[in-house]
Amino acid sequence: MKILVSAKRVSDPNAKLAIAKDGKWIEGDVEYILNPFCENAIECALQIAEANDGTETVAIGIGDDETARFIRQGALARGIDRGILVSADEEAIDSDLIARIYMGVVHRENPDIVLLGKQAIDGDSNQVGQLLAEYLGWPQATFASKVEVSGGKAIVTREVDGGLETLEVTLPAVITADLRLNEPRFASLAGIMKAKKKPFDELEIDDLDLEDTDTKVQVVGLSTPSGRKAGVIVKDVEELVQKLRSEARAI
């Protein structure tokens, strides 16, 4: 079996964000981390590989040379077998083109499972996995909190409104990871050393035979939402009830 798994870098959620001069993205000089949902996807791929002898795991990142570092340290150092960087200018790609780049890689690699994060915590679009599944004509199981693979099928429990849904998908399929899927392991020192020697391919978008590299969605401007002001601290429950009643008229 072969599993393709994502390694996307995102700005640290605790970083102070500044809007870039052109107003279209954030200033680039922030700390970056591996997208938390990709950590869950990577952990899931490793667990499936551990339970199924002969499984090959491949991490893919789309971006610049910096992205390569996240593929190595975030994925290969944790135990993923090899890495692929697809060079792309992140300013010039949208979810749709990312999905088509994945499609191009899938056509080269023929994986049984593509495991992505349910969302990227910068763009927060929650689209790539679903777009990819439709481009490939594959079944999908998004927002996974449990994945079991056997006999060419995956049984996936999904976190949905109202509770937990379980689907059985016939492979090949796209699965997107939710945060409760697992506890991502840390890379060991040995893992970090080994990662440096693992196979690593660099591809250009042109290598992927896409029909075009046009985007469909553009961020034309960013703004800061109007904030909330802190209110008052009440001294006890009685004052809270009184304020909620006569001032806020909320109860």
């Binding site: 959620p13 964000l17 979810s95 749709d96 349910k118 915590i121 910068d122 927060d124 929650n126 679903q130 777009l131 599944a133 439709e134 481009y135 079944p139 999908q140 998004t142 927002f143 909190s145 049984i155 949905v160 409104d161 109202g162 509770g163 937990l164 849904e165 379980t166 689907l167 059985e168 016939t170 399929a173 939710d178 945060l179 409760r180 985007t215 469909k216 969605v217 553009q218 961020v219 034309v220 401007g221 960013l222 800061t224 939402p225 909330r228 802190a230 209110g231 008052v232 601290i233 009440v234 006890d236 429950v237 809270l240 009830v241 304020k243 909620l244 009643r245 806020a248 909320a250 109860i251």
Partner: protein, 321 residues
């Protein structure tokens, strides 16, 4: 002139309010760009949902009632929705950013060659779609450059649209969704049993955090009972098993904007704030005065929740007689 196709959301044969929030966006869109809107009702034994939508001013309520659509399997629903959009010449498909909408709509976009904008909260004067990014720390204005467009709508950002009277016709649309479900099988649904209002529809939300530990229910339920409130939770409370996943509020859970929100023993991480900071009135009860939740709360009470919340519950009960 635009033709908008709105995906209706329903649960066990009843229309869900998020459909009407989504409709509010569609009406704004049509007011700005001209055109009309239709509804798409997909499912099995859902004629009642179509009937309920007839008085909302749609050109047509399209009903696709089929056993293969009983569960919202994304590949099947997307095929039907895209086929329907093509057959009626819809250039924009919109749906709520519920888990179903998030699952299905991107696939519709691929089928229509459309760009998609997720979780939009408003239409800007310049006609761009405004949406929260980075857990709502920044708002992004996005333009879709394709002729066809797909939009998921953050329900909490739009007041539910009112009925306008009239009787839109209900038209059946034939589906061959079976093909698209061939490699997906629905196994089971483990639903949260609750007689409380839906979290995204409730006027009052009582949310608890990790600090409540195994007394999560004992603290939140009585207060929710006296207020007729829905119960929500932080991710940490769900992770630790004190509340079901359906309760999670935040960047990766539900987004709510009730009249009144109680954050009890919740620290106020950015990812939690992303799901509730547009509530009208926010009350924070926390024993640590330095927590960030107090920066967004209208009323803060520094207290032990195990003592304060039962007291609060009792006082509101007395007040209400």
């Amino acid at each position: 002139m635009s033709k908008v196709l709105i995906l209706a959301e329903h649960d066990k044969g009843a229309l869900k309010k998020v459909t009407l929030n989504t409709l509010a966006f569609a009406r704004q869109y049509v007011a700005k760009f001209g055109g009309s809107y239709d509804f798409a009702v997909l499912g099995h034994n859902v004629a009642g949902v179509a009937e309920a939508l007839r008085s909302y001013g749609a050109g047509v309520v399209h009903l696709v009632d089929h056993a293969d659509l009983a569960h919202p399997i994304a590949s099947a629903w997307a095929k039907v929705l895209a086929d329907l959009a093509k057959s009626i010449g819809a250039d924009i498909v919109v749906g709520p950013a519920s888990t179903t909408g998030k699952d299905v709509l991107p696939r519709v976009a691929v089928r229509l060659g459309a760009g998609m904008a997720s979780e939009i909260v408003s239409l800007t004067d310049g006609g761009a779609f405004r949406r929260p990014m980075w857990a709502g720390n920044l708002m992004g204005d996005v333009k879709i450059t394709t002729a066809n467009k797909v939009i998921s709508v953050r329900a909490s950002a739009f007041d539910a649209a009112e009925a306008t009277g009239g009787q839109s016709p209900v038209t059946a649309f034939a589906s061959d969704a079976g093909l698209a479900t061939a490699r997906v099988k629905f196994v089971s649904f483990d639903g949260v049993q609750s007689t409380r209002p839906d979290l995204t529809e409730a006027a009052v939300v009582v949310a608890g955090g990790r600090g409540l530990k195994d007394k999560f229910g004992a603290v939140t339920e009585p207060l929710a009972d006296v207020l007729g409130a829905a119960i929500g939770a932080s991710r940490a409370a769900v992770d630790d098993g004190f509340a079901p996943n359906d309760y999670q509020i935040g960047q990766t859970g539900k987004v709510v904007a009730p009249q009144l929100y109680f954050a009890i023993a919740i620290s106020g991480a950015v990812q939690h704030l992303a799901g509730m900071k547009n509530s009208k009135v926010i009350v924070a009860i926390n024993k640590n005065p330095d927590e960030p939740i107090f920066k967004v709360a209208d009323y803060g009470l520094v207290a032990d929740a195990f003592v304060a919340v039962p007291e609060l519950t009792a006082q509101i009960k007395t007040l209400r007689g």
